[in-house]
């Protein structure tokens, strides 16, 4: 207990050595009544910080002088005054928060690269809903890694709708959370996927490493950036697209596909936990030669961040990435928001919603809108998760579950 007892005196003593502090030449011993240890190290206060505090102390000498004049009761009162002031500053805020309550709120829990899209879409839907029903709807957004977001909804995050990166994560709401029926994906058209995307390559300007197809990714000296398939939905699409490429070569076997993917991951210097993290690594931190990315994420990066700094390379073959949507029955029924939540998802399929998706670089399902934005999306041969991998449940168990092919190639 002796050392702790001396903590405050220590701070002051050390401060007295500071060059700026010459105002107190005579170091009177402190009034610790008894038992001062001779070996006084301040237990959790590294000594070098004191110099900074001391420099700042010079600024506040004035305050000291003022307070010296006051008697102790006044000074004790200062604390109270401080709190009262903070409280006062806070009052109008509280009043304002109580003032403008929206009629109805929805929470859309989504994955990372949809931020820009839903920001635009939510405004459009709110305007449309207001026109149709007169009701003001406010849509709140939560973004994060797809798997993490599903987990949060299961743990009690009150999502009225989920718009996640892949069906497996929505499945978890049915299997683990019992929050939606098992056949949720049949409730809306086209696998409950109003927009799709695919996996493309983002390379540096001029494509200095000459990357054109999946086979170029395993060349030595090519740095490949992709997130961790364990945590990221986009990364799982990346992984399966690479696998599908290797599997489609003549005389390919599962073993040769696994060897190809293993060689690819040997070239990955950083394994971020989410798609957005990988994009930041590649675009802003300038790591790697090629980013495996959602097409929408790659187009966004090129158009918003670095026109002329990056190029998109579309491989001849990739995978049809379907980020599905669903209402969360348990939540909408409890909150009484089923009607507006269903309308919200239905609006995704309208021409207006489809156009906004296309503007955010998602491939629209609507043929007319797709034709209008055809120039934006390169034609590419697309494999599907259901056709080529037997659905998400099987793909997940085979590749991404503990002990799956990803663990086999990355663990060694």
């Amino acid at each position: 207990m002796k050392t702790r007892r001396r903590r405050l005196p220590d701070g002051r003593t050390a401060a007295r050595h500071a060059p700026v502090n010459s105002r107190r030449p005579s170091g009177e011993a402190p009034g610790t009544a008894s038992g001062v240890a001779a070996n006084g190290y301040a237990p959790r206060e590294p000594i070098h910080y004191q110099w900074v505090f001391e420099a700042a102390a010079a600024i506040t000498v004035g305050c000291r002088v003022i307070s010296r004049e006051q008697d102790s009761m006044h000074r004790a009162g200062l604390v109270g005054v401080l709190f009262a002031l903070i409280g006062l500053a806070f009052l109008p805020v509280a009043a304002k928060a109580a003032g403008d309550r929206p009629t109805v709120t929805l929470l859309n829990v989504s994955y990372d690269p949809t931020r820009e899209f839903y920001e635009a879409f939510n405004a459009a839907f709110a305007a449309d809903w207001k026109r149709r029903t007169g009701e003001t709807v406010v849509i709140n957004q939560s973004h994060g890694g797809s798997g993490k977001q599903a987990r949060a909804v299961i743990d009690g995050l009150d999502a009225d709708v989920v718009t996640l990166a892949l069906a497996y994560d929505v499945d978890a709401l049915a299997t683990q959370g019992k929050m939606i029926p098992a056949d949720w994906q049949k409730r809306l058209p086209q696998n409950s996927t109003p927009y799709t995307s695919t996996i493309v390559f983002l390379v540096r300007a001029g494509n200095p490493k000459g990357i054109h197809d999946w086979s170029d990714l395993v060349r030595p000296g090519v740095g490949v950036i992709t997130p961790n398939p364990k945590t990221s939905g986009g990364a799982r699409w990346n992984y399966l697209a690479a696998w599908a490429y290797a599997r489609s070569k003549p005389a390919a076997t599962d073993a040769s596909a696994q060897a190809f993917v293993q060689a690819l991951f040997k070239n990955v210097p950083v394994l971020d936990s989410g798609a957005r993290g990988s994009t930041v690594t590649f675009v802003e931190r300038q790591v790697g030669d090629v980013l495996l990315a959602w097409e929408n994420e790659a187009l966004l990066a090129v158009n918003k961040l670095g026109a002329g700094k990056f190029e998109i390379v579309v491989p001849p073959q990739s995978i049809l990435a379907e980020p599905p949507v669903s209402i969360v029955d348990k939540v909408v029924d409890r909150r009484g928001t089923r009607k507006v939540a269903e309308a919200y998802l239905a609006y995704l399929y309208t021409p207006a919603g489809q156009e906004l998706a296309a503007k955010s670089y998602f491939r629209p399902r609507d043929a007319t809108i797709a034709a209008k934005y055809a120039a934006q999306f390169h034609p590419v041969k697309l494999l599907t998760i259901d056709g080529d991998f037997g659905g998400w449940a099987r793909a997940q168990a085979r590749h991404f579950a503990d002990g799956g092919t990803f663990d086999q190639i990355y663990g060694h």
């Binding site: 001396r6 003593t13 402190p30 110099w51 939560s142 009690g156």
Partner: protein, 298 residues
């Protein structure tokens, strides 16, 4: 050994303090120099960078990103949380420090250890504890859900996680101080007929006020700056459960680094104010001791 001499002199050994300054020359300059370089590199430089980035797109854009409704909501939430958490920990800190410093009871050392626990636990684990406790599938989750009481992924959850993380600051500060002061003055007051309440307001509180303020300052800084634990329990709903540190992360992930650093600069200013406040208190502490404590030297 030089550091040791620095630390202990002036405390007990008056002779050491009055040693000629030249005697401590070389070691002293090396220490000061290395401390300054270290601080400049790891504290000052990042601090400058934060402001540099914040104003990278100009002053107008700086203030525009601060006035953004979502940013304002984040500030409001951070203030709300601090405003609930700090008084809670203030009351708890004073009560626990009083109990530990002035009374003997069984389980006292266990209590001290418990108070230190949040320092030992990673903030992420702290957040997950609350998920396990209040999550929809946690111990209390189903009951809370039935009664429509939002805790997790709402403001109460953020407050709870922040309370947990910031709990030790005030009590740690006060335990040390109150133990060093002993209980003589309180006993005197009581023997002269003061009530317990009077003793607290007139004797104990004036004695500990600077230590208390110091603890409040640290507690507040951490409450406003906490990221890990809050990130786990927040749900990241923009405009609703996003605190300032979380908002900084979101903005950065949206490639909006100027806005991210603008909000971050507010947190940096908070840190600076904490530092200045701390220095001010350090400067006052000797006075406090001289006026309120009978020193053996005077």
């Amino acid at each position: 050994m030089t550091a040791l001499a620095h630390d202990s002199d002036g405390e007990t050994l008056a002779a050491v303090t009055r040693r000629p300054r030249a005697a401590r020359g070389a070691g002293r300059s090396v220490l000061i120099g290395s401390a300054l370089v270290y601080l400049g590199l790891f504290v000052l430089l990042p601090f400058v960078v934060v402001f540099g980035e914040a104003f990278a797109k100009g002053v107008a854009s700086y203030f525009a990103s601060l006035a953004d409704p979502k940013a304002l909501a984040a500030m409001r939430l951070t203030l709300t949380v601090a405003l609930i958490v700090v008084p809670l920990n203030l009351v708890f800190g004073v009560a626990s420090a009083w109990a530990i410093a002035k009374y003997e009871f069984r389980g006292k050392s266990a209590l001290v250890t418990l108070i230190d626990l949040p320092f030992a636990v990673s903030p992420v684990i702290a957040g997950l504890i609350y998920v396990l406790l209040f999550g929809a599938r946690g111990w209390l989750g189903p009951w809370l859900r039935e009664h429509d009481i939002p805790i997790l992924f709402a403001v109460p959850g953020i407050v709870l996680a922040t309370v947990f993380v910031t709990l030790p600051f005030i009590s740690r500060e006060l335990i040390a101080l109150m133990q060093s002061q002993g209980r003589d003055e309180e006993e005197t007051a009581l023997s002269l007929g003061a009530s317990g309440w009077q003793t607290f307001w007139r004797v104990t509180l004036p004695n500990i006020r600077w230590g208390l303020l110091y603890g409040v300052l640290l507690c507040n800084a951490r409450a406003m700056g906490e990221f890990g634990a809050v990130s786990v329990v927040s749900g990241h709903i923009r405009g609703l459960t996003n605190t300032m540190p979380l908002h900084v992360e979101i903005l950065y992930n949206e490639y909006n680094s100027a806005a991210a650093f603008a909000v971050a600069s507010l947190l940096a200013v908070l840190a600076l104010m904490t530092l200045i406040g701390r220095a001010a208190l350090d400067a006052r502490a000797p006075e406090l001791r001289r006026t309120t404590l009978p020193s053996p030297n005077t």
